[in-house]
Symmetry: C2
Subunit: 429 residues, 2 copies
């Protein structure tokens, strides 16, 4: 980790900058992939599967039986863990699904807002070295709670042309039965445009590599909604001298192992802690299977010493981290001062892993500074909040004259007339 001592405020902005991953070739490549899927449909998908996944897929849709029997391939212990995580995630996301509440703003003017599910949603789950079934839970559970009618999932096939059973098991457990063996930018294109086999959806969720991210960005510009703008994952830890360096090191490494571009930052008011954390990190790194990735990410990571925890939280708010761990004695108080962050972990026992897997809140969060304006995925992400209003004759009498005056002042006489014709009839009743 690079250590920075007492940076002056003028340098903070620079310290908050994320690395820019600009790659013009990606844009051209992804646009070409998407265009081909749009025009050629399934044929293009099968071709890309051969090319990128090195697999000759014959049937893109995963069969009913394969999904049904997925349980048998997942160890009982893991299934139990997944069921516990599911229950917690459900409980947290169910509480977000609020019933409409009528507000009578004036006598006879009844207004409310109702959660109505997005009809068709698509979930992308990346392949890679391990099956990311936790993201299946994080996206499929709120989609189910919201009541989305059509929920599909795309994920690349493994070398054996199959989808990992734990992905299938997690999908089945959370109500998804339409699963396609398609990966990468072509999967995003398939869900954005629809093909003979894959239905078009209105909103696309899920993480992925730079190609997937670019494809989602292009889909967004073409009118398909997406979950959150993406970027490399991040953790920022605020810790004081009371923190256990072993915990801090483990938390830093758990973020660093995500990828070589993971952003890892430690803020503290204790110089001693930085030293101890560095020692502890080096020690723990040795045993980490993904040590080359984590080590790479650590090279660019920062340990910043501030003169107070006040400065730490101020800097954190400027940085707007995806994950913020507050491991200080006054963690609860500092948490109350968070302005910009995706998700906050309070106190020494609240490690990011808890939220990544099982505590309840969602792990799909805004990165790259987007936490200044965007929220993480929640049940809200799977619904529209439609407003309704119902005016009685009395209601229109109460509010009508104000509307007439305002419409006239905006020179929209048609708007005024829509009220006037009704008020006239009401007089004659």
């Amino acid at each position: 980790m690079k250590t920075i001592l007492y940076p002056v405020p003028e340098t903070w902005d620079g310290l908050c900058k994320r690395p820019v991953l600009e790659n013009k070739n990606i844009d051209t490549t992804v646009r070409a992939i998407m265009k081909k899927v749009k025009t050629e449909g399934d044929r293009a998908l099968l071709e890309f599967s051969k090319l990128f996944d090195k697999v000759a897929v014959t049937e893109m849709k995963v069969g009913k039986e394969e999904i049904e029997e997925s349980d048998t391939h997942v160890p009982v212990k893991l299934r139990k863990a997944i069921i516990i995580a599911k229950k917690n995630i459900e409980m947290f996301h169910q509480a977000q699904n609020l019933k409409a509440k009528v507000i009578e703003t004036m006598p006879g003017v009844r207004c409310w807002r109702k959660n109505v599910p997005v009809e068709k949603v698509g979930i992308y789950i990346p392949g890679g070295s391990a099956p990311l079934f936790s993201t299946v839970l994080m996206l499929a559970i709120p989609a189910k709670i919201a009541g989305c009618r059509q929920k599909i999932l795309c994920t690349p096939p493994g070398a054996d042309g199959k989808v990992d059973p734990v992905i299938l098991y997690s999908a089945k457990l959370t109500g998804i039965t339409e699963i396609y063996k398609i990966g990468g930018a072509q999967a995003i294109a398939a869900m954005a445009y629809g093909t003979e086999t894959v239905p078009k959806v209105y909103k696309i969720f899920g993480p992925g590599n730079q190609y997937v991210t670019k494809a989602k960005e292009i889909a967004l510009s073409e009118g398909i909604a997406i979950d959150v703008p993406a970027g490399p994952s991040e953790v920022l830890i605020i810790a004081d001298s009371s923190a256990d360096p072993e915990f801090i090191a483990a938390d830093l490494l758990s973020q660093a192992e995500h990828g070589p571009d993971s952003q890892v930052i430690l803020l503290t008011d204790s110089k001693k802690l930085i030293k101890k954390v560095n020692e502890e990190t080096a020690k723990q790194l040795r045993d980490l299977p993904r040590k080359s990735i984590a080590g790479h990410s650590l090279l660019d990571s920062l340990a910043i010493l501030f003169s107070s925890l006040d400065e730490c939280i101020e800097f954190s708010n400027m940085y707007a981290p995806e994950h913020l761990i507050i491991n200080t004695e006054n963690a609860g108080e500092l948490a109350g001062r968070v302005i910009n962050a995706g998700s906050v972990f309070i106190g020494k026992y609240s490690c990011e892993s808890a939220g990544d897997y099982a505590s309840g809140p969602n792990h799909t969060l805004p990165t790259n500074g987007f936490a200044t304006t965007y929220s993480g995925v929640s049940t809200d992400s799977f619904v529209k909040k439609i407003t309704f209003q119902e005016l009685s004759g009395e209601g229109l009498k109460n509010i009508g004259p104000s509307i007439e005056l305002m419409a006239e002042a905006e020179k929209l006489l048609g708007h005024k007339k829509a009220v006037s014709v009704r008020l006239k009839k009401l007089k004659n009743v």
Copy 2:
């Protein structure tokens, strides 16, 4: 209006299509304007003001005194109407500002979600033939309720170089005191990038012409959030034989007068109603000050006869209108079956004008079919919902083993270790 009788379902998709306003020149022009503002700052803004608004602005920021004395230029009656609208909008949007509620997903695992305001927001209010002060209310009120720290407003100066007093009055009334005389794409650029005078914001709200819309689209692609994707305004009315043709005609015209590209659609199961509405519309059009605009828009509008109200609501859900008026005997029941719409007006006295100005719900809504996935502006639009979690030692003991198993199955051993080191220490306590 074009009348279409009993369209077969295969044709519905075509009938739902919005006109495509593609103009490549706009893209080039707006990018040039934005680039100039980004590099030259205030100097570019003053130059564009001269060029586009035909006004030599010397001071872009509206002075304190000018805002203070705006009251005196707004008729008392109009001020009273605005205050009534403000109260209703406040009441409706205040109810959306929910307090955080702690969910204990397992003993010792406490999680919650908290509304935290977007720190810096910008509101754009277009110029044109009349001052759109109602949009000031619709955007400034939820911004205030959310608690946004910095709220700025840009609006083009009139021919006299001033901002209309009713805009200033509405802004002052709703807590906005930072107002800049800047219009068009250059105003969006100023708020997106910041200049010597105009502060950079995180999220930009407000309607505008094609240049403003394009500028917001470009800002979005560069990481600045925006309210909702924009398009021409729309109303879809579902009416049966019980509806008063005079009301329907007035509602259609109140939408048609917005602009020549306004989308106006009537769905009904009564052929007679279409005839009567046509007659009534022709009659009312004669007296409308904006009759040339409304007449133009009506030419492209549709009256569609279906064999049942079931088909009407089905078509409406496919069209996903910005505004949906349901003027039928069973309006409440039909409203319960709405899947895609921005805002719904139920029954004969609920005209769109009520929601446009004063009933309480927001009038900034998704158009162009975006109601399939997007919600209108609400207090939610001005906050992020940050999740928090706090695990006690007991909580981690309860949930830890599940996290360890799941992390291991995802081959993220660093994630597992963040739990294990803590559980180990807890054992030794």
